[in-house]
């Protein structure tokens, strides 16, 4: 835990892990970028619009080891929006719980970026990616199931990078017959590849979910 003070509003700022350089101030929504001991204010980001996501900062889950959601980015594209929740695992590593239309993908960054795959190169070179195209990432054979051009809408908590509004992002989702899934993202010229699988909240034994009036919490979370 690193404690600091927001240079913009003076509120206390806590970093859960030294691995993540970015934190959105809970009070003034300023993006704070940490470099050594220095906190630099990088401009404000919008609040994430109110939604009925069952997840929240502080939701816990398990995938081999426990994790906690510590950050969130809200994405928007022409056909809607989705949430990327940053999961901090008990061993200090991070992953993403991607939430879209009631489906959840638990993803981790693929180390070498899977650059050998045509789909990844197409994203890197801004070439069109065809729905149904095959792509092999970390020896799993996927098919592209959607391609979106998106931007950051708002964010909260701790993040590995800043999320300025209107940043153009290309996002490609892939699926495999075994329930595996993958995601290729191009953000400010940099291509990242993530791989994992579809999960349900029951499968990750999610706790500390958001409570909704009139909706009983699922048995695993209660």
């Amino acid at each position: 835990m690193i404690d600091a003070t927001c240079p913009n509003c003076g509120a206390a700022v806590h970093f859960r892990t030294p691995a993540l350089p970015v934190k959105i101030c809970d009070y003034c929504r300023t993006t704070l970028v940490r470099s050594g001991e220095v906190l630099q204010a990088m401009g404000k980001v919008a609040e994430v619009p109110e939604d009925v996501s069952p997840l929240q900062i502080g939701t816990r889950g398990r995938d081999g080891m426990g994790f906690e959601l510590i950050g969130r980015i809200r994405m928007r594209w022409s056909g809607g929006g989705w949430n990327e929740w940053l999961a901090l695992f008990d061993d200090g590593s991070t992953g993403w719980l991607s939430e879209s239309m009631g489906h959840f993908m638990l993803l981790r960054a693929v180390a070498d970026g899977g650059m050998r795959t045509g789909a990844v190169r197409s994203v890197r070179d801004d070439q069109p990616v065809v729905i149904g195209a095959e792509a092999t990432i970390a020896s799993v054979k996927y098919r592209v199931n959607d391609v979106k051009d998106a931007t950051f809408v708002g964010s909260e908590g701790e993040l590995p990078f800043s999320t300025p509004a209107d940043t153009p992002i290309r996002s490609v989702d892939l699926m495999a017959p075994g329930g595996e899934c993958a995601s290729i993202q191009k953000d400010r010229g940099e291509v990242s590849v993530y791989a994992g699988r579809y999960v349900t909240l029951a499968e990750i034994s999610a706790t500390n979910l958001r409570a909704f009036d009139g909706w009983p919490l699922p048995s695993f979370a209660a």
């Binding site: 619009p49 809607g80 929006g81 489906h103 199931n145 699926m175 017959p177 958001r210 409570a211 909706w215």
Partner: protein, 430 residues
């Protein structure tokens, strides 16, 4: 822990001013006002109208906002749309639960199916596709479907006239539906719900249970299992019946007597009795055995006479055995042990009157050998009277009765499957 949030938010339609509900904020992309039918952009802060209503507003049978539990999960109806492929029309309800996501309730006007989007890609093996190692058979070719009416909220940009290409794969009780457009390809797994299940869960009048009309592509034949059971039972019963009948069919010896019959045309008469027949009606088999005859025959006239009423039941048999040589080939023919049957003899005490006349046969003339030399050959004939016997007519009637129901079920099953496959049957011929 924060205060439980209400998932439903009241909004005002910018077109008509009516109050509309937003039930899945964050996911919902399009809202179609239930008052004026205007399509609103839920991703814009001011709910910018996108399209005016093109069809007259109508109320879905299950009202928006209705909650109900299906297969253990509580759902809320948030959207409703009607679609057509210009052959059949159906409707789809979009269901939402904040912890479970979305499901579809598909209504073909007869039965409901519960659909979920697959989060895995089906595998292809030969002509069929597999999900979790379970195979599905392609049902017809790819077809176009159009949205004809829409109301409520959706997580995609829904619009009347929106078109997708659908390919269906089925197995009894389940369908995999692949929907494609230019941007994406989705797989929905539809489970056929029991009659009355969705109606009870979502508080609408129960539909009439009917297997008529055109079944759903993934509807299991209601006659399939019945048919298999009935066929097994019917075949076992028929087999048992045949075995029992040929093993003796409960035959009981009633009386037996032996009489000597001269082969000179003299009639021998013998009364066998009393024979008691207690059953309401009884089948009688009269078997004769004349092993001693050779190139001779014995005519046997039977009369079963009721001692009380003198009512008589008559039958006739011939015991015969011949042999000879014709054109250098020896031959042998005839039946020395003929049997006859009398069916449906009423209860009572009877006598069997046997009149036997014996003759000797020669290839040229019928001779009565007693004329020359007084030695008259006599042959012993044994008459056995027994209850029971195989009546082929009765056997066939019983078999028909036994197999009637299985055959009816087979025909119904074939009829059902023919109707189920009718929408795609013509394609296969092309």
């Amino acid at each position: 822990m924060t205060v439980p949030l209400n998932t439903v938010r009241a909004l005002t339609c910018p077109n008509c001013g009516g109050t509309i509900a937003l039930r899945a904020a964050g996911n919902t992309v399009s809202i179609i006002c239930e008052h004026c039918g205007t399509t609103l952009d839920a991703t814009s802060p001011d709910l910018a109208p996108i399209a005016q209503a093109t069809t007259a507003m109508q109320r879905p049978e299950i009202a928006l906002g209705t909650r109900g539990t299906l297969r253990g999960v509580q759902w809320e109806v948030v959207g409703y749309l009607e679609r057509t492929d210009h052959y059949v029309n159906w409707s789809e309800y979009l269901l939402f639960n904040p912890y479970q996501g979305y499901a579809f309730l598909v209504d073909d006007e007869r039965r409901f199916s519960l659909g979920v989007l697959l989060t895995q890609l089906p595998g292809y093996t030969g002509g069929s596709i597999t999900v979790d190692d379970v195979g599905y058979t392609r049902f017809g070719s790819r077809y176009d479907a159009w949205v004809t009416f829409v109301v409520g909220e959706f997580y995609w940009r829904v619009a009347v006239q929106e078109q997708v290409q659908i390919t269906d794969f089925v197995r009894p009780g389940t369908m995999l539906s692949c929907e494609e457009n230019a941007e994406e390809r989705t797989w929905t797994q539809l489970t056929l719900l029991d009659f009355g299940e969705a109606e009870a869960a979502l508080s609408i009048p129960k539909r009439r249970k009917s297997y008529g009309g055109t079944p759903a592509p993934h509807e299991p034949s209601p006659y399939g299992n019945l048919m298999k059971e009935a066929l097994i039972i019917g075949v076992v019963a028929a087999f048992t019946l045949i075995v029992i009948m040929f093993m003796g069919g409960g035959r009981t010896e009633l009386a037996s007597a032996t009489l000597d019959v001269a082969l000179n045309g003299t009639q021998a008469t013998r009364v066998i009795g009393p024979i008691d027949l207690p059953g309401r009606t009884t089948a009688i088999r009269i078997a004769a055995r004349a092993d001693g005859i050779d190139n001779s025959w014995i005519e046997l006239d039977y009369s079963l006479v009721n001692r009380a009423t003198q009512e008589s039941f008559d039958a006739y048999a011939t015991a015969e055995r011949y042999h000879g040589v014709t054109d250098g080939e020896s031959w042998r023919e005839g039946d020395a042990t003929p049997g006859v049957q009398l069916s449906s003899i009423p209860a009572g005490q009877y006598d069997l009157v046997v009149e036997a006349t014996g003759h000797v046969w020669s290839s040229t003339t019928v001779t009565t050998p007693d004329s020359g030399w007084g030695e008259t050959p006599a042959v012993p004939v044994t008459i056995d009277v027994a209850r029971g016997g195989i009546f082929i007519g009765n056997l066939l009637l019983t078999l028909f009765a036994l197999l009637c129901w299985p055959v009816i079920l087979v025909l119904r099953h074939i009829g059902f499957e023919t109707r189920r496959l009718a929408p795609v049957a013509e394609e296969d011929d092309e």
